[in-house]
C-alpha cells in the first residue's frame, strides 16, 4: 500500500521538517515558515531537542508568519510580506521561505510574494501532502539553495551534499569521509549544507566532485551536475569493500592514483579485524530494523567471524548504515558491549 498509515519511517515524515533540517544548518541563515505558529513550534522543538542531544545548545532560527483562521480564509500573503521585511531587518546571511501545508492548500503564491516584496529570499517548496515526505524536503531545500552557487572551474576539491544533519553521528561520518579523502590527498571544500555561512554556498560550483550522503539525493546530484558540470558519487561509503571502492571511485574522478590509499585502508581494516577477534564465533541475532545490507552482513560474517542465528545476542543495524571503516568500528564496539552484557 503506497500510503500505509502506519509508516512512521523518519525518511517519510514531514516535508517541512526535511527542508528545515537543511535550511537551519546555515549558521547565519533565517528560515520563515509561512503557516500557523504550530508548524514552527513543533519543528523548532524537534530540531532543538536533536541538536541538544548532539551537544549543540543552539535554538534554530525560525520565524513564523503566524497564519490565523482569517488568513486561511482571506489569504496569508500580506503576513508573509510583513514577516519577510521583519526578517530582513535582522540582516541574515540568507532568508529561506518554506510553505506550510495550509498555505499551500489555499494557494498562497509564496514565490511571487518573495519576488515582489523587495527582499531576497530562497523559496523552498514544502507543501507536504502535494507529494513527498522528509527526504523530499531535504532535496527541495538543497536544490533551492543551490541557486546561491556560482559556476566555476573544477579545483580538485570535493563537496559533501546533503549530510544528515539530524543524525547522531553526522560529525563522526564527516570525519570518516574526510579521513578517506585525506588518504588520497583530497579535501572537502563545502559541506552543502552543514554548519556553514550562507556566503560559502557561492563556491558550490567550483568543486571537482560532489559526494551525496545517500542515493535518495540522486536528483540533487543530477541537477548539480547539469548546472555546474560536477560529477557525483551517489553515497557515503558503507562496508569494508564499499569503502575501498569509494577510494577507487573518488581517485578516478579526481584523477588521483588510489593504489596507496587503498592499500593503507586495507591494512587498517585488517587491524580492525584483529582488534575485534574476540567477537569471532559470537552468536548474534539481527533485529530487522528499517534498513539492512546483505553485503555488510556477509562482510561481518567473513571478516569478523560473527555467527548470525535466531538465538543469539539481539543487535541491530543502525539507520542510516555505518559510514566507512570507522563507522563499522563504532558498530562493532556497540555489539561487543551487547555480547559482554
Amino acid at each position: 500500500m503506497k500510503n500505509w498509515p502506519t509508516n512512521s519511517s523518519r525518511t517519510e515524515g514531514c516535508t517541512l521538517t526535511g527542508a528545515l533540517s537543511v535550511s537551519t544548518s546555515i549558521a547565519d541563515g533565517l528560515t520563515i515558515i509561512h503557516g500557523p505558529d504550530g508548524c514552527v513550534h513543533h519543528n523548532a522543538s524537534l530540531l532543538h531537542a536533536l541538536w541538544h542531544e548532539n551537544e549543540e545548545g543552539l535554538f534554530p532560527r525560525i520565524y513564523s508568519t503566524s497564519m490565523t483562521e482569517a488568513d486561511v480564509v482571506f489569504g496569508g500573503e500580506e503576513r508573509l510580506v510583513e514577516t519577510l521585511h521583519a526578517a530582513n531587518r535582522l540582516h541574515p546571511g540568507v532568508i529561506c521561505v518554506l510553505s506550510s501545508c495550509v498555505a499551500a492548500v489555499i494557494g498562497d503564491d509564496v514565490s511571487t510574494v518573495c519576488d515582489t516584496a523587495g527582499v531576497q529570499a530562497v523559496v523552498i517548496t514544502t507543501g507536504g501532502f502535494l507529494g513527498g515526505g522528509f527526504s523530499r524536503g531535504v532535496s527541495e531545500a538543497l536544490l533551492a539553495l543551490s541557486s546561491l552557487g556560482r559556476k566555476g572551474e573544477g579545483n580538485g576539491t570535493v563537496n559533501l551534499i546533503g549530510e544528515k544533519n539530524l543524525e547522531y553521528e553526522a560529525e563522526a561520518n564527516y570525519e570518516e569521509v574526510n579521513r578517506l579523502l585525506a588518504l588520497l590527498g583530497a579535501k572537502v571544500q563545502l559541506r552543502f549544507v552543514r554548519k556553514i555561512p550562507a556566503h560559502a554556498i557561492s563556491s558550490l560550483g567550483s568543486a571537482s566532485l560532489n559526494i551525496l550522503r545517500d542515493p535518495s539525493l540522486t536528483d540533487v546530484g543530477r541537477a548539480l551536475e547539469a548546472r555546474f558540470k560536477t560529477p557525483y558519487l551517489s553515497a557515503f561509503p558503507v562496508g569494508l569493500g564499499g569503502t575501498l571502492a569509494f577510494l577507487q571511485d573518488v581517485g578516478e574522478i579526481l584523477g588521483i592514483e588510489s593504489t596507496d590509499a587503498i592499500n593503507c585502508e586495507e591494512r587498517y581494516q585488517k587491524n580492525l579485524a584483529v582488534s575485534f577477534s574476540d567477537l569471532d564465533g559470537s552468536a548474534i541475532t539481527l533485529d530487522r530494523g528499517p534498513v539492512t545490507s546483505h553485503v555488510l552482513i556477509d562482510e561481518l560474517q567473513e571478516s569478523f567471524g560473527l555467527v548470525f542465528t535466531d538465538q543469539g545476542i539481539p543487535v541491530r543495524l543502525p539507520d542510516p548504515l555505518p559510514v566507512g571503516t570507522a563507522g563499522l568500528s563504532r558498530l562493532l564496539h556497540r555489539w561487543r558491549r551487547a555480547c559482554r552484557a
Binding site: E69, V73, F74, G75, I106, D108
Partner: protein, 272 residues
Amino acid sequence: MKQIALYGKGGIGKSTTSANISAALSDTGLAVLQIGCDPKRDSTRMLMHGRLIPTVMDQVRERGDREIATEDIVFSGYGGVRCVEAGGPEPGVGCAGRGIIATFQILERLGALSGDVIVYDVLGDVVCGGFAMPMREGYAQEVYLVTSGELMSLYAANNICKAIKRLSGRSRGICRLGGVIGNGKGLDQEEELVSRFAERIGSSLIFFVPRSTVVQKAELHKKTVIEYAPSSAQASVYRKLAENILANKRMDIPEPLEVEELEELAYEFIKD
C-alpha cells in the same frame, strides 16, 4: 425549525428563488433566516432593497471573530426576514470554503441559527468540504436542487447529488434531497425534462417556476417579486413553491446519473 438549502449551477437563479421563498414564508407569519453562503454576498440583496450587507467574513477581517455581535452580521429585511451573508475572500486568494465553515461556527456561537425556517443559499458547485457545510453537522436537513432544462444545469445538479449521497450515508448525516425546483429558461418541454430528471435521480419535482419578465423587473427595482408585484402570477408561483416546500415530507437519498445517462436524457427531449 425547518432548515433548507438551495444548491444549483451558478447563475441558475438560486438567490432569486431563495429570496422569494423567504419573502413568501415571512408573509405567512413565519420567522425566517436566510444565509447567503457565497463570497459574492448577493443572496439577500433583494430582501435588503439592494443593500449589500456587511458579511460575517468582513467583520472577522475587521475586528476578529471574538468581537462580533449578532447585530453586526444579522440584518432585518423584507417582512422581517433576518439576512446573513457569509462573504469570503477576494477572488483568487484564500479559501472561501473555510470561510463558510468559520461563518457557521460564529453563527452557532452567537445562537443566531434560530427561527421557524432557515434558508441556506449556497454557491453553485460543491467544490470543497466548506461548501458542503450546510449539509453537514445537522444544519440543513433538506436540500433542494435548482435547475433549468439546460444540460450544464442538470449536470451541476447531478453533481450535487453525489455530495448529498455521500453525506447522507454518514452515521451523523441527516441531510436528504427534498426535491428539485425547476427554474425555467423558456426551453421546449423543459418542465417535463426537469421532472424526468428528478424522477431518474430518485426524487421529485417540487415545483416548476416558469420564466417571467416580472423577475427581472423586480430585481431592477431591488425587490423580490413577492414585494414588487404581490398580485402577479409569478408571485403566486413563488408562494406555491414555498407552500410545497413547507408541506414536503418526502426526503430521498439520491442516486446520481452517469454522464452518459444524463446526456441521453437531455438528448431525448431535444429530439422530441
